[in-house]
């Protein structure tokens, strides 16, 4: 498939003597995971359409260190952090947007004391600000009137108290936003945080993602909306496990907006 996405790198921008208004931190998932790459592209299409001058680090980007830190490896985390901070500071980055709440949390909260202070926003917050500034219009399209439930990513919600930006975007789709039994501050984890994504779960009677998927399916949704590539994977697996993949879609908020406009 050859579509023309405009994705300038910081290096190209700098060579051209330009400064982007925001750096898009793609993250490992967004760069390598097949499902998450679709989220990355959807977000880029919206940025292109809204005429946002952004740039990515491309091959100069590296893992923020979040999974290492949460697994207990502070050395590896700080090595990753300081390497990334050197790159970001060299490009004099001021503002960062990312579609991954784990990258968001780490860069926003844990980089400053290591020398990396930036304005960091989650992509739903960024899209909301584009909407508020009139640079982005959201149409319902095929999601008009559909039942959509939003899963709060722990690292966006409880960890950083961002609950409303994704919900306001979903409401703009003229969709019916329905809440799960556990939402906002009481949102139930998808099961992937704290480096669980990379290991088998301990012995128990159920997988966390199945528990959460059941809560989502209880709302009888057409779409389960997520704001995190890991949550997306866990919920997609959950919906498949419940054999509902024909009826219920798991989509990132950016995909909802892009798909509604056939971007």
């Amino acid at each position: 498939m050859s579509e023309t996405l405009k994705v300038p790198t910081m290096a190209e921008m700098m060579a051209a003597g330009k400064t982007p208004e925001v750096l898009f931190w793609v993250g490992c998932s967004g760069s390598f995971d097949d499902r998450a790459k679709k989220i990355t592209k959807a977000f880029v299409r919206i940025l292109n359409k809204a005429g946002v001058e952004f740039a990515v680090l491309g091959t100069e980007e590296s893992c923020t260190g979040d999974p290492a830190k949460r697994a207990g490896n502070e050395f590896l985390f700080q090595m990753q952090a300081m390497t990334n901070i050197e790159v970001l500071n060299a490009y004099e980055v001021k503002k960062i947007v990312t579609a991954c709440p784990h990258c968001f949390n780490t860069i926003k909260n844990e980089y400053p004391s290591l020398g990396g202070s930036y304005e960091v926003v989650h992509h739903t917050q960024f899209l909301k600000s584009l909407l508020d500034d009139g640079r982005l219009t959201i149409e319902g399209g095929k999601f008009k009137g559909k039942r959509i439930t939003f899963h709060d990513p722990c690292y966006l919600g409880r960890a950083n108290d961002v609950y409303e930006a994704p919900r306001e975007l979903i409401k703009k789709l003229d969709a019916e936003l329905v809440e799960m039994k556990n939402c906002r501050k009481k949102g139930l984890c998808c099961g992937a945080g704290g480096a669980q994504m990379f290991k088998e779960a301990e012995e128990g009677k159920k997988e966390v993602n199945i528990e959460r998927t059941e809560q989502a399916l209880d709302t009888k949704p057409d779409v389960v909306a997520a704001g995190c590539p890991f949550c997306n994977t866990m919920l997609t697996d959950g919906v498949k496990g419940k054999e509902k993949e024909g009826e219920v879609e798991v989509l990132d908020v950016a995909e909802l907006i892009a798909n509604a406009q056939d971007l």
């Binding site: 830190k69 050395f75 409880r158 990379f198 159920k206």
Partner: protein, 442 residues
């Protein structure tokens, strides 16, 4: 002759308070076994949190039934303790109802104490039913067997008995007042204890006097026993909730601390001008190298240890924990209970060995908290959010993971793979860093 009761009272009071002070000192010494941590920044916000969360019970009402009942018992105990002040003055100076001079206001005070006492009894009975008849999930988890279960019930029995003694004391007092007994001047309103009058009806003045005095003495002695029970019980939260909410973390919940010792090493590693063969500076003190993370209570910080003493084992954390909900061994409440149990064990060891800790071959890790529990955590912060007194079980889990990984290299094998991927190619999966932008053209 008449001075003897006053003397006995003063002795009991001094002993009760003295013993309590002794235990508070022990508690403070145990907490100070932990590492220092600076949690005095932004005092305005800290006072505000204490006022809202501890005093204002803000997070209790997230669960409305338990929250409302708790507020009744809480207000009841705080307000009824004004009565204790009168009892103490009466006991020390041989007066009777020394505040009676307040007249109408005294009637209002005693009347409202009685109503509150009644509401406390009702609430405590409901609490008991929830624990022992309905058996709510969070009260019957594995860590609640034995002492924790008994402790919870003992507290409820204590509260009912204290309230009953208070009401019985008032009922006999009222009867003595109406009989015109000496010393028992008419004072106070008795909206609840008047219904206990049938119990004491027909008793002689001397019998009434005996019952009234017995209830009065048992009430105050009971309160002193309860005060001293706190140190041995989960009920310490009635005092420690206040400092605990004050010292709680103010940063976003998702923010973990960056270990400073590691920062220094990493900076040195990345400094192109660092001399790899440099000998340590002469004035550098050769101490025992610091330990990364925590394997025992002494490796935790003081706020984490205060957290452990503050925990009242309500189990809201555990009932919100995704790992626990899906049947894993992890229970954030157990993390706090284990931390306190181990800290108490260390404290007793120090007491038994003239103030010095004697190695006992045990530690918090493995002897109390298993690795399986630690690795089941998703770091979702549900437990931290759920705690009505701002306890942070997640920080202990993370510090213990740090020990496992950085001191023991004992991460689960899949996590080791993930970490070597990050180390080698800058992503948790085995993809080449040079392919990071390939998605653009796919």
């Amino acid at each position: 002759m008449t001075l003897i009761p006053q003397l006995i009272f003063a002795l009991i009071l001094a002993f009760g308070i003295g013993f309590f002070v002794r235990n508070v000192k022990k508690l403070s010494r145990n907490i100070k076994l932990g590492k220092e941590i600076n949690r005095t920044d932004r005092p305005g916000e800290r006072w505000r949190n204490m006022a809202l969360i501890a005093l204002g019970q803000q997070k209790m009402v997230v669960r409305p039934i338990a929250g409302l009942l708790h507020i009744i018992v809480y207000i009841g105990f705080v307000i009824i303790n004004i009565e204790v002040l009168e009892i103490v003055i009466d006991g020390l100076f041989g007066t009777h109802r020394v505040f009676a001079f307040m007249g109408g206001l005294y009637d209002v005070l005693i009347g409202s104490f009685e109503i509150l006492a009644f509401l406390v009894v009702v609430s405590v009975v409901i609490f008991w039913i929830r624990r022992n008849i309905i058996r709510l999930q969070r009260f019957i988890k594995p860590e609640m067997k034995g002492w924790p279960k008994n402790d919870a019930n003992i507290i409820l029995y204590f509260e009912v008995v204290l309230m009953f003694l208070f009401l019985l004391m008032n009922a006999t007092d009222l009867q003595l007042q109406s009989l015109g007994a000496a010393h028992y001047t008419e004072a106070g309103a008795f909206p609840v204890s008047q219904y206990l009058l049938p119990l004491v009806d027909g008793m002689s003045q001397s019998a009434l006097f005996l019952v009234e005095r017995t209830a009065w003495w048992l009430h105050i002695v009971g309160i002193l026993i309860f005060l001293n029970y706190l140190y041995y019980s989960k009920h310490l939260h009635i005092l420690l909730a206040f400092p605990n909410t004050w010292f709680a973390k103010l940063q976003p919940k998702g923010q973990l601390d960056n270990l400073e010792a590691v920062t220094k090493e990493v900076q040195l590693m990345m400094d192109p001008n660092a001399d790899p063969f440099a000998a340590p500076a002469e004035d550098e003190v050769e101490g025992e190298p610091g330990k990364f993370g925590a394997s025992d209570v002494m490796d935790l910080n003081r706020v984490q240890l205060l957290n452990a003493y503050t925990c009242t084992e309500c189990g809201r954390c555990t009932s919100e924990c995704p790992a626990n909900q899906t049947g894993k061994k992890l229970s954030p409440r157990k993390i706090m209970m284990d931390t306190r149990d181990r800290l108490e064990e260390v404290g007793k060891n120090i007491d038994a060995n003239n103030g010095v800790f004697k190695e006992d071959g045990k530690q918090l890790l493995d002897d109390y908290i298993t690795r399986e529990e630690l690795w089941a955590c998703t770091s979702c912060n549900a437990c931290v959010e759920a705690c009505p007194v701002s306890i942070d079980p997640l920080s202990i889990i993370m510090d213990m993971r740090r020990y496992l990984v950085m001191e023991q290299s004992a991460a689960p094998v899949e996590l080791n793979n993930m970490m070597s991927n990050i180390e080698n190619n800058g992503a948790p999966w085995p993809f080449n860093q040079m392919d990071r932008l390939n998605w653009k053209d796919e």
